[in-house]
């Protein structure tokens, strides 16, 4: 039946513009509401707790504007294009193909989605502080064999989607899968925790499960599952289609742990830094690095003086030459991009090295950090990522639908518009996150340790020259003792007096080395308040950022639609946000108190198993899926900034584990939310049943 005979209603341009504006305004306002909390929260924390202001307010504001626009476009694209396409394929597949082909398709889609939305970038950021001597296996998986790591995750997601299709086709319950998979994962985790090398990859494995399902994959796979589930016509699938994201989180965790277990025998054990860089160990150390230059860069970026001296062994002059080279443009590459030379001097260099560099490389301490990446460059990078995330998966589905299944979406033009909107939305959203939201989170997250530090901390050094000793003034303490001070203006504030230290003044060069110090925020006695503030910050960060997650919004919308409004989207989003907030608090506790990750993973998952047993089928699927969708494009950069800020301060090996916590607790809160909702909804029946029992 052709549609050529349909009469098209022509709307005047003015009316059309009014219709589009009223529609767009509603959507934009919705997104403004969803991101308002996290933006205001970060700003309030920065202004009132840390007492600083955003360093580049215009850039941040423009970035935040892009986030709102991007979210609007992206969500609309999901609803108009990607989800209807996925669902259509899901409904049609069982009609034309057997279960074998459906499972193969699921496998390909799952693997493709991992390559399209690589989690490796996120995992590399979380593992940026990993050292080759402290966690050789973790370092190997992240830096030496990232291909194997991605392949193990991709295979995990592929198997998960394939399994998911199989489950929907035959209408199996998700619960047996949970009862089987979770104990296996916990068992593997305990096994890994007993080995000094494998212990370090636990955070990576559980975080991989959390971040692997991206903003495009989740809605697509969810819609596909709903389609297959509906087409299967099984009675149990009243709210079918859920549970697949849980599988797509569990299998990659298993994949990464198995990869770790396989690589472990051929990887060296954790050792002392000086032993690792010693020339006699060079041959084995180089198994983790492509060449000696990379090994040298690693010792400068992550190591200390002992490691650097051990690298050069007897060659003292080589060591000094390498230090001098830091002042050259080529040598700048030895310092991490995220640090200025001054920061490197403060955090990585020893007293001796600081003195040497101040003497031999004048002006080194004041050389600036790498400038911020230009807008155009960020947009170009993010556009490429967005194209890679949206187009291949959409094409795969479109080819299957048009060519294999010989079908078409209900409105081809609408789906095409949706895919375009999703693409533009993702470009704007990720650019906005990188230029607006992430820097804002970074400015709050990184200096966060200040709130729990009880002693002043050196933040960097600055050479003041020419420094006139006449500028130094004399003051008196309340006890009447004299002291010397001079005025110093820091970061645009009014000049304030700082004590003068004779040792820092060099009369020969007429320069004074001023040590920049950060005082403790709540005074030396109030670290407990500071720690409470960190927990509060972590909770608010998780709660606020999750509310803006597009994949969660899509999931919430699907839940509301399938349950005909008996479970509201806002309820699901709130329960998940609460869970992420609690999870982040646990993650922060892990870093602050150095709690082994397995001790934080075991209790919630052990509790989740009986709760799942008592939950109804549909809520079990929804809750376990929520664990996979929480950690998306908005939450991850903010959480990583916070985790790395605190982890860097406490010299923790890596920033892993926080995201895994942010995945476990939402399952708990959604299951509890589901039990409460169901208890209320059952009331009508239960009241009557109780009456009868009384009779």
């Amino acid at each position: 039946m052709k549609s050529t005979d349909r009469t098209r209603i022509h709307i005047p341009i003015g009316t059309a513009a009014t219709m589009v504006w009223s529609y767009a305004r509603g959507r934009i306002l919705e997104q403004v509401k969803s991101v308002a909390f996290i933006i205001l929260y970060l700003l309030a924390f920065q202004l009132f707790v840390l007492g600083s202001t955003p360093s580049n307010a215009v850039r941040v504001a423009a970035g935040l504007g892009l986030v709102i626009l991007g979210l609007t476009f992206f969500l609309e694209g999901l609803i108009l294009g990607l989800m209807p396409l996925g669902e259509r394929v899901g409904v049609r597949l069982p009609r034309k193909c057997g279960i074998f082909l459906i499972v193969v398709f699921g496998l390909l889609l799952g693997m493709g989605s991992t390559y399209a939305e690589p989690a490796i970038a996120t995992l590399s950021t979380a593992g940026v502080t990993v050292t080759a001597w402290g966690s050789p296996l973790l370092y190997r998986m992240l830096n030496d064999s990232p291909g194997l790591l991605v392949a193990s995750i991709a295979l995990g997601v592929g198997v998960a989607v394939g399994f998911g299709m199989f489950r929907f086709y035959y209408g199996f319950s998700i619960k047996p899968f949970i009862y089987t998979l979770v104990p296996i994962l916990l068992g593997l985790s305990v096994y890994c925790a007993l080995d000094s090398n494998l212990r370090n990859i636990l955070g990576l494995a559980w975080d991989a499960g959390a971040v692997t399902t991206g903003a495009v994959t989740v809605p697509l796979v969810l819609a596909l599952g709903i389609g297959v589930s509906r087409a299967s016509g099984k009675r149990e699938d009243a709210a079918g289609g859920f549970g697949i994201i849980m599988l797509a989180s569990a299998f990659p965790i298993m994949g990464v742990m198995i990869l770790g277990i396989v690589l472990n025998p051929s990887t060296s054990r954790p050792m002392e830094e000086s032993a690792f860089f010693a020339p006699e160990y060079r041959e084995r150390a180089l198994r983790l690095f492509p060449n000696e230059a990379a090994l040298l860069r690693h010792v400068f970026q992550h190591g200390g003086e002992d490691g650097r001296k051990a690298f050069f062994g007897e060659d003292e002059e080589g060591y000094r030459q390498a230090l001098r080279r830091l002042g050259t443009p080529e040598g700048r590459g030895m310092i991490p991009d995220s640090m200025s030379a001054g920061e490197w001097l403060t955090r990585r260099a020893s007293e001796t090295e600081r003195a040497f560099l101040t003497r031999e490389v004048p002006g080194f301490a004041s050389s600036p950090r790498e400038s911020e990446t230009a807008w155009a460059s960020v947009f170009r990078q993010e556009s490429t990522n967005a194209l890679r995330a949206v187009i291949p998966l959409t094409l795969l589905l479109a080819v299957v639908l048009f060519l294999m299944l010989r079908d078409r979406p209900r409105h081809v033009d609408e789906v095409a518009l949706g895919v375009g909107l999703a693409l533009v939305g993702m470009m704007l959203l990720t650019t906005g996150i990188r230029t607006g939201l992430a820097p804002l989170g970074d400015e709050v997250g990184r200096p966060l340790p200040r709130v729990f530090r009880s002693v002043p901390r050196e933040e960097g050094r600055v050479i003041l020259e020419p420094f006139e000793p006449e500028q130094v003034l004399t003051g008196f303490t309340p006890e009447g003792r004299p002291y010397r001070f001079f005025y110093f203006t820091e970061r645009g504030t009014t000049p304030r007096p700082v004590p003068f230290d004779d040792d820092q003044f060099d009369p020969e060069t007429g320069s004074y080395e001023h040590v920049l110090q950060r005082p403790p925020l709540f005074g030396p006695q109030l670290t407990l308040v500071g720690i409470a503030m960190v927990f509060l910050f972590a909770f608010g960060l998780g709660f606020g950022s999750t509310q803006a997650e597009p994949a969660l919004s899509a999931l919430g919308r699907t839940v509301e639609e399938l349950t005909v409004g008996t479970i509201k989207r806002s309820g699901v989003v709130r329960a998940v946000s609460l869970g992420v907030g609690i999870g982040l608090m646990m993650g922060v506790a892990r870093i602050l108190y150095d709690i082994p990750i397995v001790w934080l993973l075991l209790p919630p998952y052990m509790l989740l198993l009986p709760l799942t047993y008592w939950s109804e089928e549909d809520f079990a699927g929804i809750a376990w899926d929520c664990g996979g969708v929480t950690t998306g494009g908005i939450t991850v950069p903010l959480v990583l900034a916070m985790g790395l800020g605190i982890g860097g301060e406490l010299n923790v090996t890596d920033g892993f584990g926080v995201l895994a916590m942010a995945s476990a607790y939402p399952i708990l809160t959604v299951l509890l939310f589901g039990m409460m909702v169901r208890a209320r909804q059952r009331k009508g029946l239960v009241d009557v049943d109780e009456e009868d029992e009384d009779e």
């Binding site: 349909r6 209603i9 219709m19 529609y23 409004g565 008996t566 909804q681 009508g684």
Partner: protein, 374 residues
Amino acid sequence: MSDPTPTFRDVSRITCMVHQRLGAKVTECLVGMGAHTVLVENARAVRQHIRPRPWMFPGNLTEIHGTPVEVFRTTVPRDCVDAVMRALIEALELERPGHGAIYAQDLKEHSLLEPPVLKINSGKEGLLLRDLVLLTGILSQVGGGDALAKSALKLGTCVPVITRGMGTGIRDQLGLLRITIPPEKELVHLMLPAQDAAGIQRLLIEDARMDRPGGGFLYQTPIRAGVVDPLLRIGRQEHAASMEQVIAAMDELKCGTGWRKRFGDLEDPRNERMKPLRRNHREITFICTEGRVDAFVRAAMRVGAGGATTARVRCLSESDFEGGIGARERGILCVPAGRCDTVIEALYAAEQELEDTHCRIQMLEAPSVFSHQR
């Protein structure tokens, strides 16, 4: 191409709306009796929840809450419809408030499948109410169904059951501009005493503000027999029996709802305040394989139908489909009686062209229809 006109059989359509927890039992009963096609749709039943104010403040809070419901529809030969309903009422204990509602409507159906031959163990006599009508409201906004349901609860009619659907028709003729108009609809199903139906319909139109452009569509269809769920309110109980329990007991004693008549003046045609209702329409329902509903709607619109409301439904019974594919779509059209035959022929032609063996076309009277008119 076979016969250009469809052949219709006189059958009854049983609609059973039960709490989600009883869903499996309905399937078991119907399949056990031998029903070969059972269509299922998710829905929510809306009730008032009354609870004391928190923090020991005096008085009660009344909130509207939705409960998950499954709506089962199946067609059976007319001669056994009462027995099937009684068996279901007994098996599901539908006489108990809160378990759900059931009704049967006599209609004409075209289907390639013969009506099922059912094996029934008849339930208790005297449970069925005979003087009911079904009032169906189609509202444009998601959540809009709640406004109509609230009004219905306020009037103490029955437990409103809300399903979701999509509007097709005029919206689809706007090109890409259609995305600016949400296609989602909410369908509110109300079982009312026949003698009060017109009055309640008019009150609902005013109360839910349906007499405005885009306000919705409200129409009546006759019910052969049914049982109403009277549990309108849940929560604090201040009397020995709730008003709903008293009403249910009276309905049973009086074998009907005739004694409830209360809106006499509103039915008076001389009452100028009232918006005019259109008479003599037909509700045409078609069920087809998922993905083909647009073709059917287009065919109907070409011969003068104004548009349709469609909904996705699941088909549960194995014998109706091959390979376990149960995704279906259901379309509802309301057309003037004079145009009914032409629309049905167009739908039938679409069925022939698409070779949709799952297609069913059902038709029944809609004696009173309201939608906003300029």
